[in-house]
């Protein structure tokens, strides 16, 4: 299927949404490149579904522009925007066969029967459902239903594919399989894809770029690698990573940053800062900062611990393999200076030395 060669980029220009005077999205500008897989990530209520529905045309825009390719689309009906959508609860038509579900859009558009049949078959083959065309959705498993929903989306050869938390109804194993499938599907068909989720694992694994949203504002829009290694602010730092990054109020003076008198690292800044330390970067060592292990969870491949410094500051840390440490013990930790993140204590924005 090469029909999606005409994928188009999405440009959001000062896009706004207000519900009865409450701004949900106060003004959002972003460029999603053609063929790119963008994941919109954020906590519930951050406006991510609203944003997706506005792109789809299911919700009216309160202000600003949406461009798909070079067309301004915010005032044209959903079906003419050249996009298709996959929904969280599949939204398949229960009374229609798989083939009719996939082909409904073509039927509405008045595509002749022969062409319809061949396009349905082609779309079903892409998601490996070629043999299931006569089944009803109720006879399929959750994963298969979601694949029907994907086939229904791609059969229209859209310029843009939208996904509204499509994996959250699946169990953990199936979600993993579908993630791989979606990823390879995207590589094959290359449509510009926008994927909304609150699951950071989905975001990290699927995305070319992640758009992190909170209270309707973009917190960071970058590659998964940069989001993880160079979080733009404390919100992103705390949102991405499991267990989440330690964010510690610290004081910088005389070229060093310290927490309650314990020196953490050298720094050029001074005054109050928030220091971010990823749990997996903290090492348990022979000597270093003495801490008390308050809580410990063994997850097989690694352990996570909550430790308490002598001054009462708690830190989360993750050890690679289950080290023989028991709860209640005193151990020493070392925090590598080059792995620290510094944020402005007042605004939460990252302080960059480079």
């Amino acid at each position: 299927m090469t029909a999606l060669a005409h994928a188009a980029g999405i440009h959001l220009v000062d896009l706004q949404k207000t519900y009865s005077k409450t701004p949900v999205i106060p003004g959002l500008t972003a460029d999603l490149a053609s063929g790119e897989f963008t994941v919109i990530l954020g906590p519930s209520g951050c406006g991510k579904s609203t944003l997706l529905n506005m792109i789809a045309g299911l919700e009216k825009v309160s202000g600003g522009k949406i461009m798909i390719g070079s067309r301004e689309v915010q005032d044209i009906p959903p079906k003419d925007r050249g996009l298709a959508m996959v929904f969280q609860n599949y939204a398949l038509y229960p009374h229609m066969s798989v083939a009719d579900n996939i082909g409904y859009a073509l039927k509405v558009a008045g595509v002749p029967k022969d062409e319809r049949t061949s396009r349905i078959q082609a779309a079903a083959n892409v998601v490996n459902l070629g043999d299931y065309l006569d089944r009803r959705p109720s006879e399929l498993s959750g994963g298969q239903r979601q694949r029907v929903a994907i086939a229904r989306a791609i059969v229209r050869e859209p310029q843009v594919l939208l996904f509204d938390e499509p994996l959250s109804n699946l169990d953990a194993k199936l979600r993993h399989d579908m993630r791989m499938e979606l990823s390879s599907l995207h590589r094959r068909i290359g449509a510009t894809s926008v994927f909304v989720t609150h699951d950071q694992v989905e975001a990290m694994t699927l995305a070319d770029r992640i758009l992190i949203l909170n209270h309707g504002r973009i917190q960071q829009f970058d590659t998964p690698n940069n989001i993880y290694h160079k979080p733009a602010n404390t919100f992103v730092a705390g949102f991405i990573g499991s267990p989440p990054m330690n964010l510690v109020e610290a004081q910088a003076s005389n070229g060093a940053v310290s927490v309650g008198g314990v020196r953490l690292a050298a720094t050029e800044t001074s005054g109050d800062v928030t220091v971010g330390i990823r749990p997996e970067h903290i090492k348990v060592t022979e000597s270093g900062i003495p801490v008390h292990v308050a809580y410990r969870e063994d997850l097989g491949s690694h352990s996570t611990m909550v430790v308490e410094m002598e001054n009462g500051q708690t830190l989360r840390l993750a050890t690679q393999l289950g080290e023989p440490i028991r709860g209640g013990e005193w151990v020493h930790i070392t925090i590598p200076e080059d792995k620290l993140h510094f944020f402005d204590a007042a605004t939460g924005d990252a302080l960059r030395s480079d």
Partner: protein, 303 residues
């Protein structure tokens, strides 16, 4: 019941049997009386011994009374009113649930009002309107003599629906229970269904016909049967709005079966009971035929 002990079960069974006997006894009486001849009945009065004249009585009902014609009238009136009510319930519920207009509160108010003010309470105004459907238009046009000043004479349009099927069926439609039922059903459907159809390019009308209507088959069918029976047994309104016997409905016609004879004669009860059985049989057959469809319809609309 959560408890499952033998004594409770036995008591419950006995209670149910007593209830059954209480409900079924009059029916048994009807059936037995219908099998006796008028002569036997005059000799023995009511008796619990079945006779052998059931088919004779039915034949008499068929040949000598207006009941066959009136049964057809009932069928038309019940069908039209039930169909109309289903149609109104479906379309109103669609508007309320999927478009949530700001005035939906007024629709609810109207629906509730129609339930709390049944037709039986409004027989007189309903009769006046049925006698001249244009009456409200006339009244508005003639407010303060407006029409007379403009055209020289008061507006006096006439359209009489008394003694017609339309006059009997349409007022029966003005009742909103079906709307509430369909609203509840639509609320159980996934909201994304409408979004998916919108993105598939289906217009609201097309979504209603292609997606919503097939999904509502079960509830609509049950509703239709329920309302059909309601229309079939309606008594007050047909009695008031229809005066000519050959336009009358069967339930009203049944009561007229005893008036064919002289004042002092004992009514032909066996004939009446045979007629009652004939009139009851049609909704019974309807339920028997569609029962499986209804159940399957309810199961198919899986969530």
């Amino acid at each position: 019941m959560i408890e499952d002990t033998r004594s409770i079960n036995t008591t419950a069974t006995l209670l149910l049997l007593a209830g059954c006997a209480f409900v079924l006894a009059p029916l048994v009486f009807v059936v037995i009386t219908a099998t006796q001849s008028y002569g036997d009945f005059l000799r023995n009065n009511f008796s619990l011994v079945p006779g052998t004249h059931f088919f004779e009585n039915l034949q008499q009902v068929w040949e000598l009374t207006l009941l066959p014609r009136q049964t057809f009238n009932s069928f038309v009136v019940a069908f039209v009113s039930a169909f109309g009510r289903c149609f109104l319930a479906f379309t109103t519920a669609y508007a309320v649930v999927f478009f949530a207009p700001r005035y939906s509160i007024f629709i609810y108010a109207a629906v509730l009002a129609s339930i709390m003010l049944p037709l039986d309470l409004m027989v007189i105004p309903a009769y006046q309107v049925a006698a001249n459907v244009a009456m409200p238009i006339n009244a508005v046009a003639n407010l303060g003599g407006a029409w007379e000043t403009l055209f020289g004479a008061p507006l006096d349009l006439q359209l009489n629906l008394l003694n017609t099927y339309a006059g009997a069926a349409i007022p029966l439609m003005a009742q909103g229970t079906g709307t509430l039922i369909m609203v509840q059903y639509f609320k159980t459907l996934p909201v994304d269904l409408a979004k998916a159809a919108t993105l598939d390019g289906a217009s609201p009308l097309r979504f209603m016909v292609d997606i919503l209507l097939p999904l509502s088959k079960g509830p609509l069918l049950s509703l239709f049967i329920y309302l059909f029976i309601g229309g079939w047994v309606a008594y007050m309104w047909p009695l008031v709005s229809i005066s000519s016997p050959d336009m009358q409905t069967a339930v009203v016609g049944l009561t007229a079966l005893d008036s064919g004879m002289g004042e002092d004669e004992i009514p032909n009860f066996p004939l009446q009971m045979a007629g009652a059985i004939m009139v009851t049989a049609i909704p019974l057959v309807l339920i028997a035929l569609t029962q499986r469809l209804i159940v399957r319809g309810l199961v198919l609309s899986e969530k």
